[in-house]
Structures are given as structure tokens and as C-alpha cells.
């Protein structure tokens, strides 16, 4: 069945990520053989060769080059025998064509999750400042064409964030409250847990997984 819940984040008072969970999904990959000249425009973005123009045949913007002629690309470096070449320069030479290139959809790395958590922390605060009326909270719901983000901030400033697919009508409030409850039970009551540090407790992981399985079945409504 399709996963409605895509990401879970717990962010501490200072905006640091202290817990994250991600649904296991198959990363789309597309392989294609090109004649000179290649009709996809590639640029180096975040040390990867990324598609910036020319969506075609399932290859979309932000996809990056994963391998060339079966040889894995590391960042923008392509290993050819004992030699390393820049994959962008390699694809500019007519002598190398025809060439088979495999593209993969982007994923969210651990470092990116940390950056995104800090970013959300700032957005949350700015939303309070820019409120046109009194006593507004920060961002509680953020909707895009691809996903929905729900956020619950506790009295002590810890933020619980869940990201679902756009089509999902999951009862996020119930899910977030339950997450908060599990946080208090398995993190705060743990005598070895330092406040505001990343949560590394196996029982917490197991409890979260169980919660999410029940949430998927009951459309987010989780009650005992």
C-alpha cells in the first residue's frame, strides 16, 4: 500500500534535529542512451551533476547523474580505469558518444535534514512575527502541491513535525499528540537521556514504528 506518512522530525528548542524517521520508498531511476549532442542540460549543484533543463522520458529537473556507461559517478567524478574525470566535461566530448547515462531522483540526506530542521525553526518564528493579528502561533500546516506538513510545538518549545502526501487526509493532530506522548515516555523519562540531544533509544524507535503502522491503518487516528 502507498505510504501516506513520508517524514517525521523532532526539533529541539534551538532548532536542532533530535530525531527523524523516513518512509522507505524506491528511488526512481532512469537510464538512457544519448547521441551527440546530449539534449539534457546539466550543471554542478551541491557537488552533483544535476538536470537543470530538458525534462524528457521520465528524466526530471533535479535528477542527478548516477552512472555513465555502467560506471558509478561519485559526486561529479567519474572513474575511468586509473583516471578520474569530471562527468560534466566527459559528456561535453563528442568522442565519448554514444553514451549511456543513468539518472536518479534526489534523496534527502541526513545533513540536509539537519539543515531543513533549522530552516523550519526560523520559518516558524518569522510566521509569528509577521502575523497580522494578535496571539498567532507559528506554522501549524504547510501545504504544497507535493506534500502537507503538520507541526505541533509543545509548551517547552519542542516541535513535532509530520510530512504526509498531498492526497492524504490523515488526522495529523492525533498523530502528533501521540508522538509527544511517546517522547515524554521514552526520552524524557530515560535517566541516560540528555535534554535537547539526539534521541537514540531502541524502545523509542520501536514505539514510533508501531505508532506509524497503526496510523497508516486508521488514517492517523490513534487512540487506546
Amino acid at each position: 500500500m502507498s505510504n501516506h506518512i513520508q517524514h517525521l522530525f523532532i526539533i529541539n528548542r534551538a532548532g536542532s534535529l533530535i530525531y527523524s524517521w523516513e518512509a522507505r520508498t524506491e528511488t526512481p531511476e532512469v537510464e538512457k542512451t544519448y547521441e551527440w549532442p546530449i539534449d539534457v542540460h546539466l550543471e554542478e549543484v551541491d557537488q552533483k551533476a544535476v538536470v537543470v533543463f530538458g525534462e524528457k522520458d521520465g528524466i526530471k529537473l533535479r535528477y542527478y547523474v548516477k552512472s555513465v556507461n555502467g560506471e558509478t559517478v561519485s559526486g561529479t567524478r567519474l572513474q575511468l580505469g586509473a583516471q578520474q574525470v569530471n562527468v560534466l566535461e566527459y559528456l561535453q566530448e563528442e568522442d565519448h558518444y554514444p553514451v549511456t547515462v543513468k539518472f536518479a531522483a534526489p534523496t534527502v540526506s541526513t545533513n540536509e535534514k539537519i539543515i531543513l530542521s533549522s530552516m523550519f525553526h526560523s520559518l516558524f518564528t518569522i510566521a509569528v512575527q509577521l502575523s497580522p493579528c494578535q496571539k498567532s502561533s507559528g506554522v501549524e500546516v504547510l501545504e504544497t502541491t507535493q506534500f502537507k506538513l503538520f507541526c505541533l510545538q509543545s509548551r517547552t518549545g519542542v516541535k513535532f513535525v509530520v510530512i504526509t502526501s498531498a492526497a492524504s487526509n490523515i488526522a495529523a493532530d492525533s498523530l502528533l499528540s501521540k508522538m509527544y506522548e511517546l517522547y515524554t515516555d521514552f526520552a524524557l523519562k530515560n535517566p541516560f537521556y540528555s535534554i535537547d540531544m539526539p534521541i537514540r533509544a531502541q524502545k523509542f524507535d520501536e514505539a514510533i514504528k508501531t505508532l506509524l503502522e497503526r496510523a497508516e491503518k486508521n488514517n492517523g487516528a490513534v487512540t487506546f
Binding site: V128, S131, G138, E140, E143, T144, Q146
Partner: protein
């Protein structure tokens, strides 16, 4: 239900238009600083959602909601950005944004033509009256 205020920005972040109706809380910043903050927040939000969604390339922020208000976004292909703050439960806001954008493009085109042939630039109220007319007719207003 009510409509609080509206911002229109160009692609570089210049605030082309601002108006407010039932705003009860000021941000505490000078207007120019507030416009920069709103635009910066929107840029960050776009960057944030782009990196989170790995499915597809064409993605836009529809809105965000807090306990007290809802900011709805519209961005045209020419990167004109319109942000409208309303009550969280207001409906039909996307249609209203499209009407505001249509009014903006018509007025901008008229203004450009007038500047070519007339000695006096068009009055600022030229746009303000039309936008206010559209907003005040909307069911979410008051």
C-alpha cells in the same frame, strides 16, 4: 472570517503593492524591512519545500496556516508573487488571488502604455481602487 492584508512582489523582491484591511498587529518593523522579511521568508520556504519533496520538479507552496491566520501564495510564470493573509478558515482564496493577479497585469500593461504617451504617470489609486473593489466583494471579507 476576514482578509488581513496583501503583498505583491516582483522577481527581485521589490514590493510592488501592499494594502491592508483588518490588520490588528504590526510587525514592529519599518515597512521596507517587513517587505524584505516577507519575501525572504517566502524564498526560504520555497527552498525548504523543494529539498523535502523528491517526487517531482514542479512544486509550489499553496499556503501555510497558523492558529490565527493563513497566508496563501500565488506565483506566476514571470515570478510575480502575491501573498494574501486571511482568517484560517477562509475559502475561495485561490480564485481571489487569480483575480488580483489579473487586475495587476491589466493595470501594469495600462500603466506602461500610459507612460509612453502621457506626461503624467498613472495615479497609485488606479490599482488600489481596483484591488480593493475585488477584495471587498469577496465572501471572505468581513
Amino acid at each position: 472570517m476576514t482578509i488581513y492584508n496583501v503583498y505583491i512582489f516582483d522577481r527581485e523582491g521589490q514590493c510592488l503593492y501592499y494594502d491592508e484591511w483588518f490588520r490588528t498587529k504590526q510587525s514592529g518593523l519599518a515597512p521596507i524591512q517587513e517587505y524584505k522579511l516577507v519575501f525572504g521568508m517566502m524564498l526560504s520556504m520555497k527552498s525548504f519545500v523543494d529539498r523535502l519533496a523528491t517526487n517531482d520538479s514542479n512544486q509550489t507552496v499553496n499556503y501555510y496556516k497558523t492558529s490565527a491566520y493563513k497566508m496563501t501564495f500565488l506565483e506566476s510564470a514571470t515570478s510575480i508573487k502575491i501573498m494574501l493573509n486571511t482568517d484560517p478558515n477562509a475559502t475561495g482564496i485561490r480564485d481571489l488571488l487569480h483575480k488580483i493577479y489579473q487586475t495587476w497585469t491589466e493595470t501594469a500593461n495600462s500603466a506602461a502604455k500610459l507612460e509612453l504617451f502621457a506626461s503624467n504617470p498613472p495615479n497609485e489609486n488606479f490599482l488600489k481602487n481596483r484591488v480593493r473593489d475585488i477584495v471587498m466583494k469577496h465572501p471572505a471579507y468581513v
